[in-house]
């Protein structure tokens, strides 16, 4: 992997601002971003991704190739939480194993965005349907997690998993809902719709991502001190499992004949871990699990790793395979 690849990823305002946010916390700067702003940006990014993806889909239509991409996404979203659960059980109780497995089975939209912006810099094309794939990958891990729980924690006190509630949290949480709304609206309003909203949801995209990552850097850094309590096993897990997932995804997409740009994005998605939808769902449905484990792992370790070293590494891998 050439150092250029890392540099061209890192020497990018969004990534640099993420680390500037982290640094602010380490240096005890009084820099603070009001919470509604973080929310504003995260809603904005989700809508943007959705609308743009939907618009692209409206141009490409839904082809067998796209079905293949979606199918692969679905497979990873089911496979990852299951296999990681059994690894995690080596060291964790059932509750925490479920929560961590679900976290790594789901995805991070901002990691996806950073990868997309990296790809655009390299001028490698990719399809809007990958956004649909991403949306598909958000929820299954939550369901799988709770299924595993009901199998392996049978004598659970208060073991009243309210499945209706669970399905709602899985498929109607803010992330999934906004991505879906964006996809559908982008799809049905097509060219015309997109032209009207592009000045906001297209052009402002990278700038707002930069701003948002400053905030995420602050939030991630605040979680870092919790990593001390997390233990070596999980620290290693938080770096190694994403890389393993990436390797699996890269080989599978290659075997399936998926195009390079799409394959790279799917690889990044497989390597990414959730810090929005899944933690909230786990806190609600598995209160026995400790959020000070699964949130810092995902937010303070896997996320920074992925957006700095992971993305160029995965690209290097994909580039090698596709030649």
């Amino acid at each position: 992997m050439s150092i250029d690849l890392i540099l061209s990823n890192v020497l990018n305002p969004p990534v640099l601002f993420f680390f500037a946010g982290m640094l602010a916390v380490f240096l005890k700067s009084d820099l603070e971003i009001p919470q509604p702003i973080a929310k504003l940006f995260s809603l904005y990014l989700l809508i943007s991704i959705g609308l743009h993806g939907g618009y692209e889909l409206s141009k490409s239509g839904i082809t067998p190739y796209i079905i293949k991409v979606l199918g692969f996404a679905m497979f990873m979203a089911i496979f990852v939480p299951i296999y990681t659960f059994f690894i995690l059980r080596l060291k964790l109780d059932v509750y925490n194993a479920v929560a961590v497995a679900a976290t790594y089975g789901s995805i991070s939209a901002v990691t996806f965005l950073t990868a997309l912006s990296f790809l655009q810099q390299l001028k490698v094309p990719s399809g809007g349907y990958v956004v649909a794939a991403m949306t598909l990958m958000e929820s299954p891990a939550i369901i799988i997690g709770l299924v595993l729980l009901s199998i392996f924690a049978k004598n659970r006190e208060n073991s009243h998993t309210d499945w209706k509630e669970v399905l709602r949290e899985s498929f109607l949480n803010t992330s999934v809902y906004l991505l879906l709304v964006g996809l559908i609206v982008g799809y049905v309003t097509g060219e015309n719709g997109w032209k009207g909203v592009e000045p906001v949801f297209g052009n402002l995209f990278k700038g707002f991502l930069t701003f948002f990552l400053l905030d995420m850097g602050i939030i991630a850094a605040k979680r870092i001190r919790e990593l001390r309590k997390v233990g070596a096993f999980l620290l290693v897990f938080a770096i190694v499992v994403p890389v393993i997932n990436a390797v699996i995804a890269a080989f599978l997409t290659h075997t399936l004949g998926i195009q390079k740009g799409d394959a790279f994005l799917l690889t990044v998605l497989s390597a990414s871990a959730s810090y929005i939808a899944v933690p909230a769902a786990m806190r609600l449905s598995v209160p026995e699990a400790n959020p000070s484990i699964y949130v810092p792992m995902s937010l303070a370790l896997t996320f920074p790793f992925n957006i700095s070293v992971g993305i160029p590494l995965y690209y290097y891998l994909v580039n090698m395979l596709w030649g």
């Binding site: 939030i219 605040k222 810090y275 909230a280 959020p291 949130v295």
Partner: protein, 93 residues
């Protein structure tokens, strides 16, 4: 009259309010997104993950209702974390 005050994980606030309503209090007040420190460490409130926010709720109600509420909220809090206190107040309107 008693004032029952509860601080709990924002994600579980609704469970508390449901108890208030089931005990038929005449009303309650909620302050969302308060910060705090307790057994589960610092909770500085971040909108991103939504997992580190507390909410604060209080209700002013008759003594017997208060008694029943603290029993039920107490059980919730034992499982989910938070705090629940009760004190004497005089209601004027």
């Amino acid at each position: 009259m008693k004032k029952v005050e509860v601080v709990i994980d924002s994600l579980h606030l609704n469970d508390v309010l449901k108890i208030f309503e089931e005990e038929r209090v005449s009303g309650y007040t909620v302050i969302r997104d308060v910060e705090g420190m307790g057994e589960r460490g610092l909770r500085e409130g971040d909108e991103l993950t939504g997992v580190y926010k507390n909410s604060y709720a209080f209700t002013v109600c008759e003594d017997d209702k208060a008694e029943r509420i603290v029993q039920r909220v107490g059980r919730l809090i034992k499982r989910l974390g938070g705090i629940c206190v009760i004190s004497d107040v005089q209601l004027f309107a």
